[in-house]
Amino acid sequence: MRSSLRRRVAVWLLPPLVLLLGVNAVLSYRGALEAANQAYDRSLWASIKSIGESSFVRNGVVVVDMPHSALEIFAEGGQERVFYAVIGPDGALLTGYPDMPVPPVVPADGVVKTMDATYKGDAVRTGAMRKRLYDPAGKGDDSILVLVAETTETRTELARNLFFDSLRRQLALIALGAVLVLVALGTAFRPLLRLRDTIRNRSEEDLTPVASEDVPSEIRPLIDAINHHMGRLSAMLDARKRFLADAAHQLRTPLTVLGTQAEYGLRQDDPAEMRRTLKGIVRSIGSARRLTNQMLSLSRAEAVNGLIRERSRLDFADLVREVALELSQLALRRQIDLAYEGLRGGLMVEGNDAMLREMVANLIDNAIRYTPAGGQVTVIVARESAEAVTVIRDSGPGIAPDERGKVFQRFYRSLDQSETEGSGLGLAIVREICLAHAGRVSLDAGPAGRGLAVTVRLPLVKAL
């Protein structure tokens, strides 16, 4: 962890730094060259000025009286070769070297223009100045052009020295910066590492929140998220523990009953009595099987809660109708009039087919079971804005309003219906599946205050 963070910082920091260094190097070389030129252009400038000052018109003839300083000035600083020329108003060479490079634009008067050029194959720095002579006899343009050039060895050497100096300094700075970054990283990650150690050294059972007082503010959200998650984990763990205890307790009842029935059966000699006892045993086994099946369903639904793996697009109306059809046999046996009202297809929702069937089956099963014979169960499917709605309505005893919250709890069974068999898990399963599909479930009284109406709402798939 430690080294990988370092590497990450290095990867993000070093290439851009190298790039920056490169850019900076180019800029600083240019700067150095400019500085060198600025320093050395002075002698060029002075030389040109002095030649200009020593040029005049005498009897209509331009006289250039080369001042000694004009060329000697170059002997002082450097060891450069020097070329010069003075060109008359007519473009003819008055004195000096022929064919010197001339800057493209030389201002009218007294301003020295410099540029880089080559002369006779050597790189030179050239300066040029136009000087008016104010010849009274001259007609109009009487300006001469003074050119002085020197070779550039000293300049480039100075520029190179300046450049390498600054490069050395920059490299030293970057190296120092890198060391500082490493040190800073070390101190910055120390609280994180300490946190890692405390979490690593915790006991497996310990789900209490991690202390978030002495961590940097940047990490506090992370700690809070971890603590939040741990809170959920410990709540879930508690629920599981309770469920396990409840389940064991619930399973004990049918087992005890089975035990008693079997003992009773053993003591009987009458085959008819034994047969009756065996029938009772088979019934008990049936209810125990239903209990275990319901527990399995619930645990599957809970696991699914929030993360249903196999989701598909399915038609909820068809699904409800099919489930109602499957349960019509049971309704017939119980003499319940089971009716289906509403849409025939066209209610697309996204979800787990088996789970949703389980949910609807539980609801219709309840309605059939808790409604006395001769009663009525109506299954309605409809679309309401962006939701698929199914209402399962019966003409049974209903559930008292103050009990409606409790019936969703696991293993809760209303005392009024104690003669009807059941494990008390059906509505808990319904709620879990409903939640997993981002739906809602509510209990109401049936029309005219009689019976029970269970309403489930599921979000429809958005129209494409």
Partner: protein, 364 residues
């Protein structure tokens, strides 16, 4: 004279002991490679505007030091040398490897125009700063510019000891020196022109001096030989801007000639040597240049060639060392550098000559 002979003897013995020495101890390690390459080349061609007589002891010693490297020495005058370098370069054929001339300005012009090879001699540290330009042009000698006079005809108190005294004397006694003053004809002699322009640059009272000279109806000659001859014979009394090395040689033969190093300022000329950029025998050329600048070569220059040593560590009268003792800050060496190009400027040259003739030239 005695000290000179002693120095000569010392030098001879020194040259014996080091005759077969190879690269001097303080030379770079790879110098042996230069020597080997020079042997391969076998010769070095030198174009010089310096008498063969002055050069021959150097040539002999060099060939003894580096057996297998022969010196081909061509003596010519300064303008000839300059023109040959340019025309042979243009033609692209063989040319000299080393050019050595007393015409400092023309030599500098050649260096400035890119004819020279850049080569940092290992002797550079031993040379005065003014004598090296771009590690291309090297000043090799130390030749004071002097007055000479006829010892018999000029009373000791009449001998001017400085340029200022010369001007004063001429102004005070125009008749005494009428037609008796001599110097270079600056139109015909390149060295004469170089020296007089250096005077003009250095001496703020130059044009007063020129006026005084002009008043004395001077006799201008194109060679120093004629000047010294006329002074020796008594036809002229005083000559100025004479190259000290020539004057010393002459004075040795003709005791009637006296020499004065002007006390206000004494110009010092130095023969400039450079290696051709296109030298065919560049390694031999480097050996030659380094030899000329070395203590050994400079000792011979001072004591046998009589050209004056530029090195401070060479003993003798006619050395930078000896002259500094006598003249101190009055010594004004002509700087080896681009300043010398000023008076080569055609317009400047014509302008100067015109002004000089108007002021100083012979008036009938």
């Amino acid at each position: 004279m005695k000290s000179m002979r002693l120095a000569l003897a010392l030098c001879a013995s020194a040259s014996l002991s080091v005759a077969h020495a190879q690269a001097p101890a303080d030379y770079p390690a790879d110098y042996a490679a230069v020597i080997a390459a020079a042997r391969q080349e076998g010769k070095v061609r030198i174009y010089a505007a310096t008498d063969t007589a002055a050069a021959s002891p150097l040539i002999k010693d060099f060939e003894a030091l580096y057996p297998g490297v022969k010196v081909e020495y061509s003596d010519m005058n300064t303008t000839e040398l300059y023109n040959r370098v340019i025309s042979e370069k243009a033609a692209g054929g063989t040319s000299g490897d080393v050019f050595w001339s007393s015409s400092m300005d023309l030599q500098i012009k050649l260096v400035n125009d890119g004819f020279a090879l850049t080569y940092k001699s290992p002797e550079v540290a031993k040379l005065p700063e003014w004598a090296v330009w771009r590690n291309e042009g090297y000043g090799t000698t130390y030749e004071p510019i002097v007055f000479i006079y006829n010892k018999r005809l000029l009373k000791p108190e009449e001998v001017p000891q400085s340029h200022a005294e010369l001007a004063k004397m001429l102004a005070a006694n125009p008749e005494r020196f009428k037609g008796k003053l001599t110097s270079y004809d600056i139109e015909k002699s390149g060295v004469g022109f170089l020296l007089i322009t250096q005077d003009a640059k250095l001496n703020p009272a130059f044009w007063d001096l020129a006026k005084a000279i002009g008043a004395a109806s001077p006799r201008f000659q194109s060679s120093s030989g004629t000047m010294m001859e006329r002074i020796g014979s008594g036809e002229n009394l005083l000559g100025f801007n004479i190259i000290g090395s020539y004057a010393l040689l002459r004075a040795k033969k003709d005791p009637g000639i006296g020499i004065v190093m002007p006390k206000d300022y004494t110009l010092v000329m130095s023969r400039i040597m450079f290696i051709a950029k296109t030298a065919q025998n560049s390694n031999a050329a480097k050996l030659w240049l380094d030899y000329i600048l070395s203590k050994r070569g400079q000792t011979i220059i001072a004591n046998q060639s009589e050209l004056g040593s530029i090195r401070a560590d060479v003993e003798g009268d006619l050395t930078a060392h000896g002259l500094a003792k006598a003249l101190g800050s009055a010594l004004k060496p002509i700087q080896v550098g681009p300043g010398l190009l000023t008076y080569l400027d055609q317009a400047k040259r014509l302008e100067f000559i015109k002004q000089w003739q108007q002021t100083a030239a012979l008036r009938k």
